[in-house]
């Protein structure tokens, strides 16, 4: 069901027919292409637009021009394969495995929290693979909030789980998440004992992490909670164990299966349900392809998840390399997250001297405080990234970042040198806008951008290497960043 169908199904039952305005609010056409591999054709060529689409969706932050060039040359199949060649694991902050001593040293904790943000943003910025996108995907799926968990080392421990799993075994990841100290604290698993059942983790495990609502009953939630009892956190906070005296060893009946189940058994039963594959496929589709659900495609993805025994990599490669993913209609059909927005700016502007802690702060203002989503459902994303409150802030940043600042300094000469013909104002405009924007512009828009670039200068006197030209280029970049097209993903 697509967005428009959802809207017409709105609860008043009123039909869209006869309702006003928009000349042709044509219902979304279902995308006919499925999971079959994308093969370039004359109608759907492998071009810079598609290479940029793949890079935007598969990595955190839009690419810079040279990366689009490189992916163009690789061709679609090899480009997808390249995304799954992960760099070596990042060097962790020095304090990563230091036992946590109580009482907490708050000053040190705040410092570590900031270092964690900086460390992760840098990692996302330099990693050319899909890995950090997957870390983000999982951290917005198996959600914990820094606000409650507080200790940076615990947040890092679950972040490492996501990186180790990345495109690996989802069932195994689900088991390990349930035993992770950050999650045990966040959803009160460490307080769930046979003497006092706490349903918090059991409910979210079913509702948000694996099956989705309406595939289980309240009794299933309670029975799962019993099976999950007994997990305790080590005194150092860096590990957890199942306490035999606090674990409920009675029979539990969960989704029709009866036995003396523990947490891992519960996960195995959950992953035996088709609903789980469909739910996870829906999450993957939503994140990587489109917030407008495509039921047939999600079912096909679920089949592949079951066939791969919940190994993500082959399924995700199929999806990103599919004719469906490369359909024209999907290019630019989502909204950039704040992280995508900012990392894109850094790459596109050839930023130097980046003030990473400040970047973390700006992300908060834009509605995406790293490691601190709003609630256990994570950031809803898509259109929810923008509001009349956050969009003006992005627009203001467009004004701010074009000048040298503590934020970063744009390497103007590298920016110019990557362009094939910066000495031609029309070509400069054309090249920058095709790199930065997922949608094509009409002649009038291009002409007005050229006019902003030139100011009062006649076109034949344009020389981008003259000192005063820098200001014109910056104004032009501000105008591009303030176009609605720049917010598309």
């Amino acid at each position: 069901m697509d967005r428009r169908e959802l809207l017409t199904l709105a609860v008043t039952g009123r039909k869209q027919a006869g309702r006003r305005r928009d000349p042709a609010p044509s219902p979304h056409q279902k995308i006919s292409a499925g999971l079959e591999p994308y093969r370039p054709t004359t109608q759907q060529p492998w071009n810079r637009r598609r290479a940029a689409h793949l890079l935007r969706r598969a990595r955190l932050g839009p690419p810079r021009r040279s990366e689009i060039d490189r992916f163009m040359k690789l061709g679609p199949a090899e480009a997808v394969a390249e995304l799954f060649r992960f760099p070596p694991s990042p060097v962790l902050p020095a304090w990563a495995d230091e036992p946590v001593e109580l009482p907490l040293d708050f000053e040190a904790e705040y410092r570590m929290r900031q270092e964690l943000v900086t460390w992760w943003l840098r990692q996302a910025y330099v990693d050319g693979s899909i890995r950090e996108r997957l870390v983000f995907f999982w951290s917005n799926h198996f959600v914990v909030e820094m606000e409650k968990v507080f200790v940076a080392r615990l947040i890092l421990s679950i972040n490492r789980l996501f990186r180790d799993a990345a495109a690996g075994d989802i069932r195994d990841l689900t088991k390990r998440v349930g035993q992770n100290p950050a999650m045990l604290i966040y959803l009160d698993g460490n307080l769930n004992t046979k003497y006092g059942i706490n349903e918090n983790y059991a409910r979210e495990l079913l509702e948000l992490f694996t099956m989705g609502r309406s595939h289980y009953t309240q009794t299933d939630v309670t029975e799962a909670a019993r099976a999950l009892t007994g997990w305790r956190i080590n005194p150092t906070l860096l590990g957890a164990y199942r306490h035999p005296l606090l674990h409920d060893n009675g029979q539990k009946t969960f989704l029709g299966h009866t036995g003396n189940w523990n947490d891992e058994d519960i996960v195995d039963i959950i992953f035996g349900q088709r609903a789980t594959a469909v739910f996870l496929a829906g999450r993957i589709y939503r994140h990587f392809v489109s917030p407008v659900a495509d039921e047939d495609l999600v079912q096909a993805l679920a089949d592949r998840l079951i066939a791969s025994d919940f190994e993500l990599e082959p399924v995700l490669k199929d999806l990103l390399g599919s004719a469906h993913f490369m359909a024209d209609e999907l290019i630019g059909s989502d909204i950039k997250s704040p992280i995508d927005f900012l990392l894109g700016v850094l790459r596109q502007f050839h930023a130097t001297k980046i003030d990473w802690p400040f970047m973390g702060l700006i992300l908060s203002v834009l509605g995406q405080t790293p490691f601190d989503p709003p609630n256990v459902a994570g950031w809803p994303g898509h259109r929810d990234w923008l509001s009349t409150s956050s969009l003006p802030f992005r627009q203001m940043l467009a004004q701010a970042v074009i000048y040298p600042s503590r934020l970063f300094i744009m390497d103007y000469h590298r920016f110019l040198h990557q362009l094939p013909h910066p000495e031609d104002p029309r070509q400069l405009v054309r090249h920058v806008t095709t790199d930065f924007l997922p949608l094509a512009l009409d002649e009038q828009t291009e002409a007005e951008l050229v006019a902003i670039l030139l100011g009062s200068l006649p076109p034949n006197q344009w020389n981008p290497y003259r000192p005063e030209a820098m200001t014109r280029v910056r104004l032009f970049l501000q105008a591009v960043m303030q176009m609605a097209e720049y917010q598309l993903h």
Partner: protein, 442 residues
């Protein structure tokens, strides 16, 4: 330190710029518009209704809640059966002054214990399988079917937060604005460079493009209007130092400053008290009570008390039996309405603590849509037929509003369309300077 937007603006020096950037208003702001205003206060996470309005005379309450029960001598009695949590003591004068209605046992059939689904049900005003619109969004869309092509003189609704919610979503778009800082909004919408808009292509990307453009337009069209109302009034009382109270103080200023917006919403989260409820819940209730009491006093002092009603909501109550530390997700709970035009006292009935559903939860007495129907008909003046259309069914209204006083008669008030004036020229904010100035200061 919490790195929120306000903090950032302070840091970036923007908060200090108001003197220099104040718009020159041509004329004094109009007198406060007389149309009715509804303020929604959401208590997100599932407020424990049983520890909010406490059945302190019932032994079952104390039997079932060995850990979290509030001792009888701490309860602030409302009558000989029910009393307020001590954290709500600030509401006692509102209760005795008949400015507070307590609707007991509010819920809906087949209760859903998921935060997200139940929040959607409450915001949507519907229990349909798919909920894509909010009850206030649908109402406003009925009143202003041509929005946003024709924009009324003031925003239709303001959510004092950084993002829009389902509450105000209409079938075609969001009917409200997210505004958490009028001054910032005003600053941030200056100096945009605009160029010709390439027509949006058909299809999904085009839809997103139209969405972003409309959002940009809404922000810039209303920014000055909102800031003008905000600066035209000052609060007449002091509010507690909580974000919720600050948000309500902003709402009071906007209304008093003449903004004709009929709907506002604010929220406080943190009510998901699975653990250590006795440590957490009292503070949350104190925050709510203090903010609401100050807001009501301010409305009174500003002379706009007749115009405004505040209603609370929460996605569900909590389990009758506690879990040894806190309480798990439950069902029916009380909700509150405040204002001079509210009929003070109890409405509905306290659910029977010995007659629970299979999960050990209370059975609701009042359908939440009855409360919505009352608001739509008695406060906004909607016809019963329209209320039934908005709520997809006939939900008998409750006597929640007094019939005397300045009341609505029949037709809902509609704001006139906005007269498009040339946007006042504003110097572009120097973003670089704004961001970096204070950042250099350690």
């Amino acid at each position: 330190m919490k790195l929120d937007r306000r903090w950032f603006l302070k840091l970036s020096g923007m908060a200090t710029l108001s003197g220099g950037c104040r718009p020159a208003w041509g004329s004094p702001p109009p007198a406060a518009a007389p149309s009715p205003v509804l303020v929604i206060l959401e208590m997100l996470g599932g407020n424990d209704g049983l520890n909010t309005v406490i059945p302190y005379s019932e032994a079952t309450y104390y039997d079932q809640r060995p850990t979290v029960a509030v001792a009888e001598d701490e309860v602030r009695p409302l009558d000989d059966r029910l009393g307020l949590h001590p954290g709500l003591v600030a509401w006692e004068p509102l209760w005795s002054g008949s400015e507070m209605a307590v609707v007991l046992g509010v819920g809906y059939p087949d209760p859903d214990l998921s935060h997200f689904r139940s929040t959607d049900i409450w915001r949507g005003g519907s229990t349909a399988p798919v909920i894509a619109t909010g009850w206030l969004g649908r109402y406003l869309e009925t009143l202003y079917p041509d929005y946003p092509d024709v924009r009324p003189e003031a925003p239709l609704a303001i959510e004092v937060k950084s993002a829009d919610t389902l509450l105000l979503r209409g079938q075609n778009q969001g009917m409200g604005m997210a505004v958490n800082d009028p001054e910032a909004l005003y600053q941030l919408t200056s100096g945009w460079l605009t160029v010709h808009q390439t027509p949006a292509p058909a299809g999904r990307a085009g839809d997103e493009l139209v969405f972003v453009r409309s959002l940009a337009e809404t922000s810039s069209v209303y920014a000055e209007k909102i800031y003008s109302a905000f600066t035209a009034a000052v609060n007449a009382v002091s509010y507690p130092a909580t974000p919720l109270a600050t948000e309500l103080s902003m709402v009071a200023r906007l209304i008093a400053g003449g903004l004709a917006t009929p709907v506002y919403s604010v929220l406080l989260s943190g009510f998901d008290t699975h653990v250590e409820q006795s440590q957490v819940h009292p503070g949350l209730l104190r925050t709510v009570a203090g903010a609401v009491a100050a807001f009501l006093a301010d409305l009174d002092a500003l002379g706009i008390a007749d115009q405004v009603v505040l209603m609370t909501m929460s996605e569900f109550g909590r389990r009758v039996r506690d879990n040894g530390s806190g309480t798990d997700h439950g069902t029916a709970a009380p909700l509150f309405l405040f204002g001079r035009n509210v009929r003070g006292g109890f409405c509905g009935a306290q659910p029977d603590l010995r007659d629970l559903d299979d999960a050990g939860n209370m059975i609701h007495v009042v359908d939440f849509r009855q409360v919505y129907a009352s608001v739509l008909q008695q406060w906004f003046g909607a016809t019963p037929a329209l209320a039934a259309e908005i709520l997809a069914g006939d939900f008998p209204p409750l006597p929640l509003f007094v019939t005397t006083g300045k009341k609505n008669s029949g037709a809902p008030t509609r704001m006139p369309p906005m007269r498009r004036q040339p946007t006042s020229r504003r110097e572009p904010a120097d973003g670089l300077e704004l961001i970096t100035r204070r950042h250099r200061v350690p």
